[in-house]
């Protein structure tokens, strides 16, 4: 099998796994998230910086090592957005929009300034730019926005058809569309569609921070694609299949920093003059690369110093102050508003996975500094008491895993009972919708003349929002107020007093 075929098979397989990760059932999602996502560059990096986990460290180091040894194979094999672009490229070739590729000049100024800007803003506490351009997160958002609703629609349609055959299955709740986020996603989809179908892997070599960073490493990688200048007949076959547009066949030079190691050129060369081999015997320096050396060193220095700045003090600089006054509640396990906004890459995996769909993407709610990061969408839904899935699947550590026991006492917010709106207080009629659904017994009732008035004891509250969802008034009479730093709730076990399983059944009927 040709190496480019192997690449296609592997990358399509991994792409399918990504679809399953976002659209599959809970068990598959959490399994795939634990094995697949430590090997995604940005999630692994964020995870290591704030809350190191063994597999993420291994994953991140292996990505770096692989790049040092083999070049940017990550971009062609592991990156889901890379595969999506390859699909677009193949499509555009099929329909004849762009049959052949050709050498493109590098957009060095653009790509290095985007990378530097992203590193600087991320260091100062705003993940927005990184989140916008991180390939994994873009892919995650696209799957959540486009693929998941499609699969759910098919699933639910099949279920509604099965009813006619007396087979009854549970349908799945669908994700709600938010226009602003839909527009962002459509925008990126079109951007990537046009870029890839017209210019191949241009995104990876201009805007993608991961591509640029790995490109810096792949310049010095051990294995490289090289053209034997003395024997090359300049047939341009290799340049025509190069999606990255990095082969200057006229001069028989390959721009290593932009090569995504797709192996196309290797298979296209009629004389096998393009080879993929060790570059230990460093031959005479490429003329153009020396001119960029200053920039290279500069970028590495900037990256290095920026990494040093990854400490909470500095990272608060760009943090949006009004986020906490906005009453935004972050998912259980996210420790605090600051922790969440500074670690979330907005991949929306939690949005896809959340069974009650209480986690929904935000647009500007967290401010410019926290673009697209998810929030708890009260009172449209509520956080299921028996679920801790978001923490189990979050790849960046923005939502840290909690055991179900811990989750049940993690207070992400408190409730506020607004007596001036509450049906019971206003109309003196029984309602108790909030009392019924409260899983923690935060809300109890006081019986005054056979009317049961709800009262709140917030020490037990975990801020799940079930009460708010159940409340029949509009606007709601009971609302969740955020805890900018999550707290521990007290377990309410007093109510039941002693176990009264009386075994002696009264002898007579009371009528």
């Amino acid at each position: 099998m040709k190496p480019s075929r192997i690449r296609i098979v592997i990358s399509l397989f991994i792409f399918t796994l990504f679809l399953l990760l976002f659209c599959g059932p809970e068990k598959i999602s959490s399994l795939l998230s634990s094995v697949l996502l430590p090997f995604q560059f940005v999630p692994a990096l964020i995870r290591i910086i704030a809350n190191p986990k063994a597999l993420s460290v291994i994953g991140f180091i292996s990505i770096i090592l692989i790049t040092i040894i083999f070049g940017r194979v990550y971009c062609s094999f592991l990156c889901p957005l890379g595969t999506l672009q390859d699909l677009f490229i193949a499509l555009s070739r099929k329909i004849g929009w762009r049959k052949i590729h050709s050498f493109q000049k590098p957009h060095n100024l653009l790509r290095y300034s985007v990378l530097c800007l992203i590193i600087v803003t991320a260091s100062l506490g705003s993940m927005s730019l990184l989140n916008l351009f991180d390939p994994y997160s873009i892919m995650g958002r696209m799957i959540t926005q486009f693929a998941l609703p499609f699969f759910l629609w098919i699933y639910n349609t099949v279920i509604s058809l099965l009813k006619y055959f007396n087979i009854y299955l549970f349908s799945k709740d669908t994700v709600s569309f938010v226009l602003s986020i839909l527009l962002v996603n459509i925008g990126f989809f079109i951007l990537i569609l046009i870029m890839s179908s017209r210019y191949g892997r241009l995104y990876c070599n201009s805007l993608c921070p991961v591509g640029t960073l790995l490109g810096l490493i792949s310049r010095v990688s051990f294995f490289k694609f090289t053209i034997d200048r003395t024997e090359c007949s300049k047939c341009l076959n290799c340049a025509e299949v190069c999606k990255a547009g990095c082969i200057d066949a006229q001069n028989a030079v390959i721009d290593q920093s932009r090569c995504v190691s797709c192996f196309n050129c290797l298979c296209a060369c009629p004389q096998s003059i393009v080879s993929y081999r060790s570059s230990v015997k460093n031959r005479e320096g490429d003329s153009w690369s020396s001119a960029r050396r200053g920039l290279l060193i500069g970028s590495i220095a900037a990256a290095g110093s920026a990494l040093f700045m990854f400490n909470p003090g500095i990272r608060n600089l760009l943090r949006t102050a009004h986020a906490s006054s906005n009453q935004l509640v972050t998912p259980p396990g996210s420790v605090s508003l600051a922790h969440f906004t500074q670690n979330c890459s907005a991949c929306h995996l939690c949005v896809s996975a959340c069974p009650t769909k209480v986690i929904t993407p935000s647009f500007l709610e967290y401010g410019v500094g926290g673009l697209l990061q998810p929030l708890m969408n009260y009172p449209n839904s509520f956080c299921d008491y028996e679920c801790n899935l978001c923490g189990r699947i979050c790849p960046t550590g923005a939502i840290l895993p909690l055991s179900l026991e811990e989750k049940k006492i993690t207070q992400i917010g408190e409730v506020d009972l607004l007596k001036e709106r509450c049906v019971v207080y206003v109309n003196n009629e029984n309602c108790g919708a909030c009392v019924e659904v409260c899983p923690t017994k935060t809300i109890s009732v006081i019986d005054k003349g056979n009317i049961l008035y709800p009262v709140v004891d917030n020490q037990y509250c975990i801020g799940c929002g079930a009460c708010s969802r159940a409340c029949p008034t509009a606007p709601k009479s009971i609302v969740v107020r955020t805890n900018p730093v999550h707290k521990k709730a007290v377990k309410n076990v007093t109510a039941g007093a002693a176990v009264q399983s009386k075994s002696a059944v009264p002898k007579d009927f009371p009528f």
Partner: protein, 317 residues
């Protein structure tokens, strides 16, 4: 063709077929007594109360005292058995109907010749994930399936709007189509404490066959509960008072260790939904007069809460 039309045609065919079959069957088997049902009804007591047995044994005794399941379910009929599956709690908590009782009732329906038995409840937080949890954790899904019932996951599209004659507050309601389409409706609530209405029994259990239960809370919970019974009274109410949640209802306490349940080992059965609620309130230790919706139901002549006026058959096992 739209879905609506399809459904209509199906329903029409179904109804036509079942009517034909029922009539034909009745003639062939010579069982035309349902045409003179009045005669047998006199023998049925207003209320049957059984105690000191296991849920299945108590049910079998009670239904025998009622004159047998055949009084309620005829050959070839479709039946809805509506337990309380409102919360994702284990059977021990007493927040949901005893699964063994549900199973025994379904089996009894089939023995009486039922064609199909449906089981469903519109749970309290009706997301599909939560209803799945409720069905599973309550043990009712497995029990009902074992007995051969069809478990219906409720969705937003299964309801039909109806007007309620004589209602004070709840003038219209969207009701599950299976209740309208099935021949027999058996209400199987659990008796438990309730934080909004003091008690949840048979009348309250009917909130699980309407779509927008939150509307009740807003409009006046107890009046709505009473009003709905003006539209639909179950053919039979079977109250599970085997293991009674005495406080922290309707959901039960946060921790199962802190359960406040009493083993009352009682089962009540009646066609009168107000009477059965009144009797259950007494079992719980409350005065029916204090429960708003029972009083309202009595006032609206849905049933009789004055137990001393009723023909009650009791049995202790």
């Amino acid at each position: 063709m739209t879905k609506m039309q399809k459904t209509d045609r199906r329903e029409f065919l179904k109804k036509g077929l079942s009517l034909g079959l029922a009539a034909g069957g009745a003639v062939i088997l010579g069982k035309t007594d349902f045409l003179q049902a009045k005669e047998t009804e006199k023998a049925i007591p207003d209320l049957v109360a059984v105690k000191n047995g296991e849920p299945d044994a108590m049910f079998k005794k009670a239904i025998a005292l009622m004159g047998g399941m055949e009084q309620f379910v005829r050959k070839g009929q479709t039946v809805v058995v509506k337990p309380n599956i409102g919360f994702p709690r284990k059977p021990e908590v007493g927040a949901t109907t005893n699964p063994l009782l549900v199973k025994t009732i379904i089996e009894s329906c089939y023995q009486a010749g039922a064609k199909k038995v449906y089981v469903f409840d519109n749970v309290v937080m009706p997301t599909s994930d939560n209803s799945r949890n409720c069905y599973k954790i309550s043990g009712i899904e497995d029990a009902a399936r074992a007995a051969g019932a069809i478990i219906i996951p409720v969705d937003d599209f299964s309801y039909q709007e109806v007007t309620i004659p004589g209602a004070k507050t709840l003038k219209t309601a969207e009701i599950h189509h299976l209740i309208l389409d099935s021949d027999v409706f058996i209400n199987v609530p659990v008796l438990k404490h309730h934080g909004s209405t003091h008690l949840s029994i048979a009348m309250k259990n009917l909130m699980g066959i309407v779509k927008n239960r939150i509307k009740y809370h807003f409009a006046g919970l107890e009046q709505c509960i009473a009003d709905f019974c003006l539209y639909k009274k179950p053919d039979l109410n079977i109250v599970d008072a085997y293991r009674v949640l005495m406080s922290d209802g309707p959901r039960g306490p946060r921790d199962e260790q802190a359960l406040n349940v009493e083993l009352k080992k009682t089962l009540l059965m009646s066609r009168d939904i107000v009477a059965v609620d009144a009797a259950a309130a007494r079992i719980f230790g409350k005065n029916p007069e204090d429960i708003g919706y029972i009083k309202m139901g009595h006032k609206q002549k849905t049933g009789n809460m004055n137990l001393n006026e009723l023909k009650i058959v009791t049995y202790s096992m």
